[in-house]
Amino acid sequence: MSISAVQDDKADAQEKRAAEQALVARAKSNDYGAYEQLYRMHIGRVYALCRRLCKDQDMAEDLAQEAFILAWRKLSSFRGDSAFGSWLYRIATNACLSYLRKQKPFQNSLDIDDTEEESMPDDVDGQMGLEHAISQLPHGARTVFVLYSLEGHTHDEIAGMLNIAQGSSKAQLHRARQLLQKFLS
């Protein structure tokens, strides 16, 4: 990638950030149209996060919806220190984890001593296959895998979110990787 292309990318990113900040400012003034634009900009990523974390399509839609409603209610406290998207994804993550914590299988699967491996589907192939394979991971392993490998959180952050030790987060990730590698090999 050339230097000028990198500069162009940087300028584009700054422009997008400024446009997003303007939309946030308008939304803070009760401009529902601006908030709808923010929704259209981010629903894809928010829903992908919810879908991968909680697996169930209907529940993922409900959680994505809840994330946007919560974000609206907290919008006045958003000071723009980070990108709106990052702030929104954190809200969505918390909404999903809050839901998952109430599920008994999730609580059980966070215990790394529960090493019962679940069989992976045989018919997985290519991109959709991996998506499906991720959805077949045990709750704990899938959650850590999504947060670490797809969302870019650190083990320290994940340990805090899930109220587990960092070592458990690493072990869950290792478990997820091993299961996914079965599909690839």
Partner: protein
């Protein structure tokens, strides 16, 4: 095994990658136009699966698959209508902020009006030979303007700080009560000594201090009495 992957000991390069993909003990990071696999300092676990060329190749294949995942997935139904219905019940509190923005100017304007009224009325009524009446009239004028500013501020204070714990709120109200009592005491003194201009100045300062107390948002971190 994916085409285009090169395994070479500690470093593995896949062309045309543009972001970091992380694993249990490795991280794929962008280097120039390619990607190298490096030790990931965030994770010190080593695994048998990651040792050896074949295992690295499998990891790289997994990394490629992960990178190929859609960053965005659209829900099957449009969620906006339901969101819009819900957020309509929770309008942003911008009016509240606006009120806070002009409040200091309102306070300043009210105090100027009150002082002007004091001077004009004291001079006017003193000319009629009734200093005591002039003082009473002046204080009533100040109080009237002052209360017009103070009362909405009390409401705003309650609203802004309603999430504080009870002990902190009790402390705040105790301080405001002390200020209010001081104001009343000085007013009494001014009525008794209408020619003492220092007392009038003191009264004005107490007014200002009381309004300052009410104006502050103690619910914000780092704010205290």
């Amino acid at each position: 095994m994916c085409k285009g992957s090169q395994t070479s000991g500690a470093m593995n390069t896949i062309e045309n990658r543009h972001e970091t993909i992380r694993f249990d003990n490795k991280a794929l990071v962008q280097v120039n136009d390619g990607i190298k696999m490096t030790d990931d300092t965030d994770n010190v676990n080593s695994t048998s699966a990651s040792s050896g060329g074949l295992a690295d190749a499998v990891e790289l294949q997994l990394a490629r698959e992960i990178r190929g995942l859609d960053r965005e997935i659209m829900p099957q139904r449009d969620l906006w209508k339901a969101i819009e219905r819900n957020i309509a019940d929770y309008p942003q509190r911008k009016q509240f902020s606006l009120q806070r923005d002009w409040m200091p100017y309102g306070v300043a304007a009210s105090l100027i009006i009150a002082i002007t009224a004091l001077v004009v009325n004291v001079v006017g009524i003193e000319q009629k030979g009734s200093t005591l009446l002039a003082a009473d009239y002046a204080i009533d004028s100040i109080d009237s303007g002052y209360m017009n500013v103070r009362n909405p501020m009390v409401d705003q204070f309650r609203e802004t700080n309603k999430n504080l714990d009870q002990a902190t709120l009790d402390d705040l109200y105790r301080n405001i009560e002390i200020m209010a009592k001081a104001r009343k005491d000085i007013e009494t003194q001014v009525r008794a000594n209408p020619e003492n201009t220092k007392l009038v100045e003191m009264l004005m300062r107490v007014h200002e201090r009381e309004l300052e107390l009410l104006k502050q948002d103690y619910s914000q971190p780092g704010r205290s009495l």
